[in-house]
Structures are given as C-alpha cells and as structure tokens.
C-alpha cells in the first residue's frame, strides 16, 4: 500500500553544464601591435609561437625615396598592411 505521508522529494534542477576550460596560456612574445592576429592564432591553437623579434610594423620600405611594398608597388596594394 502506498505510503501517502511521505512528502515526495522535490525534483532538483539539472546541474548546470561545467564552465568551459579557460584557454591554455601560451608563451607568446609580441614585439609589434600588428602581430595580434598571429598571437590570437597561437593562443587558440595552444602552442608556442616564436615571433620575429625585430620586425618592423607592416612591411613598407623606402626605395629611391618612395614608399613601396615588397613587390616595389605603391602602398595600398593588397599586400600592404602598414598604417605608417
């Protein structure tokens, strides 16, 4: 016979899903602000990334007095990401 004196236990809500593990901290040396994209990629991939330690911002050179990119084109072409 069913015992009706007992109060049924309340249904507990399901335990929340565990919080995602924080991204692993990787050793990244950043020399220039425009290395942020490479650094972000390194952090998501979870591996050390040796950055070129003395690269210049962007890759604009001065040849014969004119600012050009790696292929001797005026800045503004597809390869030029310099802001200077």
């Amino acid at each position: 016979m069913e015992d009706k004196t007992k109060v049924p236990s309340p249904q507990l809500p399901a335990a929340p899903a565990p919080a995602p593990a924080p991204a692993p901290v990787v050793n990244v040396t950043i020399q220039q602000q425009d290395r942020a994209a490479d650094a972000a990629r390194a952090m998501t991939e979870g591996r050390d990334l040796q950055m070129d330690v003395a690269s210049q911002p962007g890759h604009v050179y001065i040849v014969n007095g004119k600012r050009v990119n790696s292929n001797n084109e005026a800045p503004g072409s597809s390869l030029d990401k310099s802001s200077t």
Binding site: D52, V53, S55, Q56, H59, Y61, I62, S70, L79
Partner: protein, 358 residues
Amino acid sequence: MAGPTYGTLSVSDLLAANGQSIAHYGEDRAFEAIQNGLDAHNEIVKEMVSDLCETSMERLTRYGGDAAMEMVALDEYGDPDAQKILPGSNVGFPLRKRGVKIQWTRTFMLTHTPPELANQFLAARDADVRAIRKDIASAFFTPTNNLAYVDALTDRVTLPIRALLNADGAAIPYGPNGETFDGTVHTHYLATATLVAANVSALIETVLEHHATAQVKVYINRAQEAAIRGMANFTAYINPMVTPAYTTTYANGALDMSNLYDRPIGVFDSAEIQVQPWIPAGYLLATDPSAPTKPLRIRTRTGTLDSLGALSIAADHEHYPLRAQTMDREYGIAAMTRWNGAALFAGGGTYVAPVIAG
C-alpha cells in the same frame, strides 16, 4: 743577339719593361702577359665570392612552403578532411653582361710603355671586382622583389627575382623547433632610428630563428665599428702584439691591425662581427656563410665562373689606326636562400634601400 729568356710572362714583366715602347716590346708578348693576369684574377674572384654565393646555371628554383600537416582526433566514424602542403614560391636569377673597353691608337703603341698599358688592364680588373661587390650588396640590401625581370640574354622569359624574406606573402618553412612565420608580415629588412645592442641581437636572432645551428656573421661598415665596440654584448679580438692583463675578457682571435676596413673585430652574442668595405655605411648584414645553402646564387650561362662567366677579352678590333680590347663577364646575382640573411638599417624607423656605390 741576346740569349732566350725563360719563364712565364706575367704583368710584373710588363711593369718592369719600362724603357721601351709597347710596339718594340711586342704586342703579342704584352697581351699574353695580360691574359695570364686575367686568368689569375678570375681564380681570385672565384675564391672571393664562394663564401656567400653558389654558382649555378639554373635560373629558377623554389623556396619556402608550409610543409606541415596536423593529426586530427577521430572517433570510430570520423574521417579527417584532406590536407595538403602549400607550395613554395618561385625564385629567379638574372643573367646580365658587364663590360669595359680599353681603346688606343697605333701611335699610343709606338709611344707608350708596357707599364702604362698594363695599368689600364689592372684598372679594368679592379672595375670587375667592384661590379661584383656592388651586385652582391644589391642582392642583400634591396628589400623589394623584381617580378618582371626579362631574361633578355637567353629567351626573354620573365623571371621573379626575389629579395631576402620581405613579407611578400610567400610561405615560409617552419623553424627548427616548429616555429611558424607569417609570410605576409615576416621581414628580414629591419630598421632602427638609434642603433643599440638590442637591435643587433634582434638582427642575429632573425637569422638564427630559421636555422638553430647557424654560425652567423654580422658584416658592418667601419662607420659602425665604434658603436658596436661600445655595446655590452660585444667582446673584442685583441691586438696580437699586446699581451692582455689576465683579468681582461677578450674573444679568441687576433685583430688585424693594418687592414682596418676588412677584418673581423670580435664577437657579439653568438655571431662574429666583421668590418667589410662593401657594406654601405649605416647598414648591418647578418648571414650564415656556413649554412648548407648559400644566401645568394651567381647564375652564369655555363654554371661556372669560367668561359663567358669569367672576365675575358671579348673582342679584338683591329681597324688601322685604331685598336681596342673589350672585356666582359656574364653573370647575375640574386637571393637564393631567403632566410639566410637579414639587413638592419640604422638610420630611421623604416627600412630605406641604400644607394650602393660601385
């Protein structure tokens, strides 16, 4: 009649024959001596360029590429996506001809001495050495590619002449410890407004990070010698005529006290510092001459610095009363191992290509 004179003709014979005209000395003897001098000069040039340049007849090679794949976690139903290795980029090498002409009249032959003629040819040989040095410096210090070079001496094919790694987007191989480099931002043309030790260390590391067992040499102009000597990371070679105090820290090597513009002067971090006359003032160059592949290639038609690749008499015009001798050499120099060199400009925050005197 005087007895025969035995021995090999050399330029010194010409220089000693000061008391007679060229015509009296004999034009055939004069030019035989000049040719022997040219042969010796060409052997010296081969030795001179062998440190930094590989000699080849190949005009196109490939460099770089992303040569790594990644293992992907799978379950029992899993199937990885296809991966592939990115190809490297084409690297071309030019072929150019440089020449010099010495011309004279019959009257010159009748009235001038063999030493005066010999000096003309010695000056032509010096011009040849300066031209090669200028082309080597240009290959190292020009930061831009020439993707539209037309191989005019062969078949007018367009070749991509490339500089050292210059952030042109070409894929760069992984480093010795798995380091990755972004080809769109990684450059070996560095610049600084004020030359300090950290700049030189960074210059050396720019080469080392691609080849962990490199024996890097840093070539500088004499104008930068004082600044380098004043840096904390530098340890000097000592004057071999002086016994240093036992408390002195010095590098293992003897300092050449006479050849001030062409000598190693000491050690900076892991690299040897050498003063070289062909480095433009205000620039430093790091490279590893002992690497499995040289930083530059000299392209010649035959693959050697002989025949058309040598400084040779190309034309012998005789049109009385005018005579001329044209000498030329066919060669082209460009960067081959694009990681094996890094240039630092010490005059501002943006790399400026130098005007290379020759």
